[in-house]
Symmetry: C2
Subunit: 315 residues, 2 copies
Amino acid sequence: MSNYVIGIDLGGTKISTALSDFNGNVVSQSIIATDAHEGEAAVLGRIIKTVEDVIENGKVDVVQVKAIGIGSPGPLDAKTGIIITTPNLPFKNFDLVSPIREKFQIPVYLDNDANVAAIGEFMFGAAKGTENMVYFTVSTGVGGGAVLNGKIYRGNTSNALEIGHATVAPNGPRCNCGNIGCLEATSSGTAIGKRAKEALESKVETSLRKYKSVTSAEVFAEAAAGDEISKDIIDNALNYLGIGVANAISIFDPEMIIIGGGVSKAGEIVFDKVQEVVNKRCFKNMAEACKIVPAGLGTDAGVIGAVALAIMESK
Amino acid sequence: MSNYVIGIDLGGTKISTALSDFNGNVVSQSIIATDAHEGEAAVLGRIIKTVEDVIENGKVDVVQVKAIGIGSPGPLDAKTGIIITTPNLPFKNFDLVSPIREKFQIPVYLDNDANVAAIGEFMFGAAKGTENMVYFTVSTGVGGGAVLNGKIYRGNTSNALEIGHATVAPNGPRCNCGNIGCLEATSSGTAIGKRAKEALESKVETSLRKYKSVTSAEVFAEAAAGDEISKDIIDNALNYLGIGVANAISIFDPEMIIIGGGVSKAGEIVFDKVQEVVNKRCFKNMAEACKIVPAGLGTDAGVIGAVALAIMESK
């Protein structure tokens, strides 16, 4: 009987693989360096090695493993199992799914980080028990995933939930993608850091000047300490994040919005402002029906999400 | 064997009911006045009468009818079959589904106009053959519906796809809903008319002054005739419609966006501008993978959509 799954969190620095039961209880885990510079074949070999390790250390037979889920940075094609390209991994238009499926003779599913995080939160994290939820990750970039009617929603080209590149400020700052006023250009950690640099290059008085180098962390810290310029930068970024979240509520009518990623770690100031904007911009009944909460999974979110992907897709 | 369904398009002025096969071929149809002033019981009775008529005139037995679909103005709760309230119908918190189901002993499904239009286009209209599509209706208001993975997506409180009340202009005009810069406040026919009135109340020179009363139709006409003020108003409204559509592409990654409703009837000028904005604001691969087209169903769209609802939900 198949009563286990395997989740693989494929990252630029490490590969984390876990054997888990269907309740997300990890039986055995293997974490090794990615060593991406060694190339496609070597990294694939290391991935396969971690799978063999967790099966052996978990004292199970491979026939007891129902499926393998892999979370990877994108862009990738979840339907074909091909990693198109990614900055910190050696894979280019590489079919990662087939060799692993052929090796172990069990179904293998691949999806991008944001979708895997969404599935993890849906199955084992803050969104457990919901049917419709949207996950925002706000860190150096802004991404997302949505579980709709209990299934991850991928869209036509596997690129759904590019919420970081929806326009929230039609005349706002230029985004790296080329567009103007993307949520990523107004509200990512990178955007907050850019606004701080612009302030420092001007003549304004700000306590940010005491730092040698300024990222969003310093701006949050100085905002909390009362620096008006930092408060303005944070308030502006969170206002647009609030618009992005409000639009997701108007569009998806979800039970829950989860905000994860580095910027969300600033805590109350983020969630209070987002909720304020949502209350102003959404229909009252829809705003009240939707909880806006931080991610529930901790440092193992990636591998637990990959476990959840394997469970969801092999149902 | 059940090889027919019945669709009911419930409107403020008329009730249109059709008996159809599973390919959307109408066998018999009954159209009668709603006479909403006669109250709940009378209108319910008239709805039931149309169902009896199409069964009789179609020369089928009621056991050959698999399901009944009803499209109605909202707000309503598709899950419970209750019409909450609607300006032009007598129903208030009225369970419309149960009495019809009890009368005919077949499943009955209720949904709002925009969702029914989306399902109709998906099954028998411009989006036939797609798996993921988003429908925009742009007329006095702006609404929408989405078919995702082949099923209508309703969300948690049956209010999904309130795309008319997603924010596209954070500092834009006030919307009737209370929010600022909703798509409905920038791009509906009503919004275009309002911008024209504001222009007429100012000192600008515009050929719109020749009309006694100005709606979006006159603004489109004068824009086509070269009036600069009208061209500005239309371009501004369509720019924000383009942002709304671009955001829907970034979020849903659909195969198709359909734009229906009165404003879409202006034709090429609408679709050209929306496509231009999408090309500027979306990832190239996602923009190229998504067709943006006018609605394919004509005057019978409401009743054909209700037929499609019955087919989709009874599958």
